[in-house]
Amino acid sequence: MRAPNISPSAKLPRLAALLVAVAGLGLAGCDDHAADPKMQIGANPVLPALQQYLMPPMRVAKVIGWGADEHPAVPQGLQVKPLASGFVHPRSLYVLPNGDVLVVESNGPKAPISRPKDIVTGWVQWFAGAKAKDENRITLIRDTKGDGVPELRTVFLDHLNSPFGVALVGHDLYVANTDAIVRYPYEDGQTSITAPGTKLTDLPGGPIDHHWTKTLLASPDGSKLYVGVGSNSNITENGIGAEYERAAIWEVDRASGAHRIFASGVRNPTGLQWEPETGKLWAIANERDEIGPDLVPDYLTSVKDGGFYGWPYSYYGQHLDPRVEPQRPDLVATALIPDYALSSHVAPLGLAMYTGTGLPANYRSGAFVSEHGSWNRTPLNGYKVVFVPFSNGRPSGPAQDVVTGFLDADNHAHGRPVGLAVDRNGGLLIADDVGNTVWRVSSARPGSVSSAR
């Protein structure tokens, strides 16, 4: 096309070679070999070398929902049925003393766009079904007969602000909105609260509010509330100033509303429970992203008073994260290793220590953990509810798959499990925030067909 009268045309092949090399670099960024998640379950997860991407892998399951006759799968001896459906992004569950089930329908505040990347992330979340309306309400489901067919469904509390955690102490019902804990008066059997709430304390909320869910757990004596407050970023990309009192488990005095940091360095503590045998506080946490398909494993851990669990400076003890500057070697030296890895990017969002008797004997001591599922790993990981057996107050074996089938063979998502709760009859309840259903897992009675509809 061009007349070749340029003398330094020898430059061109060199440039072309450089272009090819650069293009190759881009492709190398997509090369990704995820290991077997089983290698990262338990007390000693295998941690590969950290890698940084040119283009972080994004792999989300397309949401197809549940067909009329479809439901998750459970092993022999269990059955699963929908308790109720037609919710709007049900995120967490709470069972009141009379057996009423509270379904928190919530989807977080709108994320601000501070970088071009946030626009892309928005598209990915939309694809993954995470862009449902934030309903900001709690729905009550009443199933007095305990047969899994509710007789009553009412709007229990409305006009909340991205609620997640709920805790009842006596006649005080606490709701953890994303920016505050609010107390409401509750009478036994009440099906709807219209009384205005009273703010107990502010919680770290907007304007960024990256990890918005605030999980809530009352102490056994009711004097304290424990709150899981997630970080305001993946790895401090919004500045360390945005992380003030975040990535922490708060202890809030119920009488005064005063708080202290009970434990810190926990990137996103999404579930808190008391271990029934030892009375210790346990948490599930979502660890950091974008340093590899097998980093960093999410975990289940006992929470030590005053403990520091690494985020953002390090993970699993003293494994440094180079993305944080300035570093804090003084803190890293004190970083605790979590008790039990759940494998990478499974996104644990629900925790239930099982104390009931409704399920078969092999589930009577341990923790159910719901794994919402990965969005940045190939193959996908999570998208199920697992059971971690405990003995003497400690995990005592590998996690077992209990509720699966949220993903189909083509990696399409029927649903994604989030909040867990154990109902009055010992059934395990699962909030499914893209299937918009609450599932109930119970023992398959002799004679009945397993997972019959």
Binding site: A3, I6, L12, L18, G29, M55, P116, E237, N238, V324
Partner: protein
């Protein structure tokens, strides 16, 4: 102008001769190229500041500057095609300039991905190095383009 027309006659292929014979106005793409180059250079400055003082504000300046530069370079490519089609003036020699600029844009695209990482390593060291490399490529391109143009004039 007279001399310029002569050079064009010598360098244009036959297909282009018709339009080249009568250049119609200033090229549209030049300003867009200059703007994108300025944005890419700005990103080097904000990267250097972030390197010295890692506050996220500077990192965000960098990624928006690089992104804006990329958007403008896309527009510049469109404008370049319009210039060719409508027969506007195009600085000679066109190919080394275009290749140099394309390389700078490609490196900036990679740089945009690096700058989209979370935290310090979005800039130090790879992002900063790429920002500097882009500026070097842009400077070399401008210099080589000018040198070749002068040489042709002799």
């Amino acid at each position: 102008m007279q001399q310029h027309a002569t050079i064009m006659d010598a360098t244009f292929s036959a297909a282009d001769l018709e339009s080249a014979a009568k250049p119609r106005g200033r090229p549209l793409h030049k300003m867009l190229v200059a703007f994108s180059a300025a944005y890419f250079t700005g990103a080097l400055v904000t990267d250097l500041v972030y390197w010295q003082m890692p506050a996220v504000l500077w990192e965000r300046f960098s990624i928006w500057l690089i992104s804006a530069g990329l958007v403008l370079s896309g527009l510049a490519a469109v404008a370049y095609v319009i210039d060719l089609v409508t027969g506007r003036e195009i600085d000679r020699p066109a190919v080394p300039r275009a290749v140099g600029y394309a390389l700078a844009v490609l490196l900036s695209l990679i740089n945009a991905f690096v700058h989209s990482r979370d935290g310090y390593t979005a800039v130090v060291p790879t992002g900063l190095a790429l920002s500097a490399l882009v500026v070097v490529v842009l400077l070399l391109t401008a210099r080589v383009g000018t040198a070749l143009a002068n040489r042709s004039r002799v």
